[in-house]
Amino acid sequence: MTSETHTVETQSIDRVVLRFAGDSGDGMQLTGDRFTESSAIFGNDLATFPNYPAEIRAPAGTLAGVSAFQVHIADHDILTPGDSPNVLIAMNPAALKANIGDVESGGVLIVNSDAFDERSLTKAGYGTNPLVDGSLDGYIVYEVPMTSMTIEAAKDTGAKPRDAERSKNFFALGLVSWMYSRPENDTLEWIANRYKGKDTVIASNVKAFKAGHAFGETAEIFSNSFVIKPAHLEPGEYTNITGNQAAAWGVVAAGYLSGLQVFLGSYPITPASDILHELSKLRHHGVKTFQAEDEIAGIGAALGAAYGGALGVTTTSGPGMDLKSETIGLAVSLELPLLIIDVQRAGPSTGLPTKAEQSDLLMALHGRHGESPVPIIAAMTPGHCFEATIEAVRIAITYRTPVILLTDGYLANSSEPWKLPDIGKFKLIEVNFATEPNHENPDGTKNYWPYKRDADTLAREWAIPGTPGMEHRIGGLEKADGSGAVSYEAKNHGLMVELRAKKIDAIANSIPLQEVDDKDGNAKTLVIGWGSTYGAIAAGVRRVRAGGNSVAHCHLTHMNPLPSNLEEIINKYQKVLVPEMNTGQLSSVLRAKFLVDAKSLTKVEGIPFKAAEIEQAILSCIKEES
């Protein structure tokens, strides 16, 4: 490497989609995270999509072991992590092979050429070396000997070559930081902080990072570096947040807003565990967390805490939801507030634990024996997990009911710049514990009837242990309306089933009317989505409009009950398209409720829709408009 500096042009671009890919052990998630954070601080809008393949560590160098992190950065507001990367950073042949199919044609490949030896090529299943066999002709390929340069750079740090080698992700990060004109200092500080106490590691990471940066600047192979201006985001203070973190914070916020102690009972499961991890760190916020022996105990403890007047929360993913269903039914019967967060993953059974799917909606609606309706909320973006959580808790407490919040593996791990909400804008959540007897007996004495209801909300009056004079017994057997005593009476059961259903339906009165994004009012096709497909659908809609067509978009957050104006909205359109990452679950709900011939667009591949896929589907609908 020469030390003479050649001049490169810095070109201004409006957006770029990068994907870092390497072995599970190569630190790609960390690299991606760090690049994201410095871009966020720089002021770009962004969206990320971490995609690690398996729950286990596969043998180094195999396709099964490839871990990738995609980030989309832009100088304007964007909605998705991007359909196809413009740039792929591939740390070894397997990473190249597993990801090349997604890269835009003519895209940029930055490969760690040191890793393209015979053995690695074979492991990845390459018969010939793609760097020389011409198979990459359609791309702009930069071969960078990252491993050797990293070892070289770190040779004075005292790190053994084997350890030094592990800094090569920082070399890549340095190089890409240079390419996209990211500030260096943030990252250097961050390294110092993160590896505090491990001086050799800090030193070799810093050296590698700087070497990567310098390589971009000096090596004469890069003709351009780029700058992506800060985006014109809404003014405010921002932080970069994942869906799991936002949900955890939402829980804490709901605790503050309601004045209730927060108790999480949970059992680890991918991709929900990080909510447990995050909340476990927050003891200074008064949060109590409990890793239970299983999912049943997790929700059981949360319900016990709720009975005692805490904000009971449980978090899980599909298989854990199955196990919680009996206790959710008990919570329905006890009419106690409880928040259940289901971070959906691809099923059935163990399925694809690290992949996202929206296939638990019908389970959330119907996954319990008997008639046991529960409200369901779905989060749309990583940041929206915060609000959605608070809304779920509001409903749970106000209506004394378990509420299921659906997020998914994509929201859970993806991040976006999130504008810190104005705390003042959140309404307090009124709990209104009952403290006085509410029933007069024929003999004039008074006592507490736990199943007397508020006339508006139909919520029952709720007294918690510790309140003198309010002692009472409740359970999972059917209860007499009002008194709550065990009742086997036929008519009473019918009435209670009806009251429980009405109470949930009545929630529709307290939720916002559904908004429709129908820019020009000319649309005949309505796209209805829910949950994490928001970005892809909105981006698809933008594309359709950019092409001169009209289309309307409605994105649901309240899945049960549905917003009261939804039927009216639907009836305005000729065609209804429902894109979902399942085989058509919301679609079947809409069909049953509104007898609308909703068309499903389904994708059940563990990965999000691309904006282009949505665009295509909308365009075919538009073609069929009469």
């Binding site: 966020a40 601080i41 002021g43 800060p230 985001l233 003014p235 405010g236 203070e237 921002y238 932080t239 970069n240 973190q245 914070w249 804490v252 916020a253 503050y256 108790f263 009972g265 927050l282 003891r283 200074h284 916020h285 109590k288 239970a292 022996e293 049943i296 105990a297 059981g300 403890a301 319900l303 016990g304 805490a305 709720a306 009975y307 005692g308 007047g309 805490a310 009971g312 206790t327 008990l330 006890l334 810190l420 909400p421 709990v431 209104n432 514990f433 403290t435 918690i464 242990p465 510790g466 309140t467 003198p468 004079g469 002692e471 017994r473 409740i474 359970g475 999972g476 005593a485 065990v486």
Partner: protein
């Protein structure tokens, strides 16, 4: 809107009104079969509570499903009749968030040891501050007579018309194997012994486990008669009393042999080199308590009753509460504002 201060332990501090059994009795008609052993357990609890210096409003009974699980309905306290096997889980969350409450768990041999076995052993291991009363009638009462995990080998029931082929659990052994800090056994024929045992269990900090031999006169009548019939008790109940030699009946005692096994023998005719055992509830090593639990393989031969083990170890709820206090001290009390700013933030104007 009224907010209750959940952290003040009104039970311990506030003055406790004088009560009688009647105050602890709810207005619900008791719905067990006439003659069921559950009645005497109920009475023992209702008679004990006025003596415990606790308040009704701070007392919660949590049960699963089973005949025994109807218990909370009959107590004029807070009560939850939850779902089958899950009472310990429910009680864990309640106890962990409301250290001011006295939480009792009422459960049956099916509820606690069949479907709920895992919650039970984890509750004991974690030393959750609850008092667990296991009504062991060696049968499923509520579902009308199937064998339970404590039914004896060979038991003929509706689900085992040819006799059960599996050995029962010994609930005391299981609890000790699960690290329980308080383990005791009593029976429904001796109100005084029950009351004394329940009192000890209640006063213990952490999880207390009491096995109660309870007669189901409809589906398993006489299950305990070999040791509990009036004239059998002397020779078949081995009372455990802390600090005292373990003796019973006519001159009989429990001896530790030189090879390390427990045997029952008449005084004087014990094996050479063996020692009459002195009961030590507070031994941190549960091995001797375990050995005592193996003296009888079911209620068919001389069986120890009383407190097998009572030791102190960290209790879950307090430890959790301490972490909250410590964290607030070391990191400063949190606020929503602080939470939102706890990551890296940047401003856009």
């Amino acid at each position: 809107m009224t907010k209750l201060d959940q952290s003040s332990s009104s039970g311990a501090n506030g003055s406790v009104p004088v009560t009688t059994k009647k105050d602890w009795t709810s207005d619900q008609e008791v719905r067990w079969c006439p003659g069921c052993g559950d009645y005497s357990i109920l009475t023992a609890v209702q008679m004990l509570l006025p003596e415990l210096n606790v308040k009704r409003e701070n007392t919660v009974f949590v049960s699963g499903i089973g005949c025994s699980a109807r218990f909370p309905y009959y107590m004029n306290t807070y009560g939850v009749h939850s779902i089958h096997g899950r009472a310990p889980a429910f009680a864990t969350g309640l106890s962990a968030t409301r250290p001011d409450l006295d939480v009792w768990v009422i459960t049956g041999d099916g509820d606690a040891l069949s479907i709920g076995g895992n919650h039970l052993i984890h509750c004991l291991r974690r030393n959750i501050n609850v008092t667990i009363l296991l009504f062991n009638n060696q049968i499923y009462g509520l579902t009308k007579g199937q064998y339970s995990p404590t039914s004896e080998l060979g038991k003929v029931t509706k689900s085992t018309p040819f006799g059960s082929v599996v050995s029962p659990f010994n609930p005391v052994s299981l609890a000790l194997g699960a690290e329980a800090s308080f383990v005791a056994r009593t029976h429904d024929m001796d109100r005084k012994h029950m009351m004394e045992t329940f009192r000890r269990a209640h006063d213990h900090k952490g999880a207390s486990f009491v096995e109660i031999y309870q007669n189901c006169n409809v589906f398993n009548d006489g299950a305990f008669s070999q040791i509990l019939a009036k004239d059998a008790r002397g020779d078949n109940l081995i009372p455990l009393v802390h600090g005292q030699e373990i003796t019973f009946g006519e001159n009989k005692g429990v001896y530790m042999t030189s090879s390390g096994s427990l045997v029952i023998a008449k005084k004087g005719s014990a094996p050479h080199g063996s020692n009459l055992l002195v009961h030590d509830e507070h031994h941190m090593d549960p091995s001797l308590a375990f050995a005592l639990s193996r003296l009888a393989n079911g209620p068919y031969s001389p069986t120890p009753i009383g407190v097998f083990r009572d030791v102190e170890r960290p209790e879950f709820g307090s430890e959790l509460a301490n972490q909250v206090v410590d964290a607030k001290e070391s990191r400063g009390k949190g606020s929503l504002e602080k939470l939102l700013h706890s990551g890296v933030t940047w401003k856009v104007d």
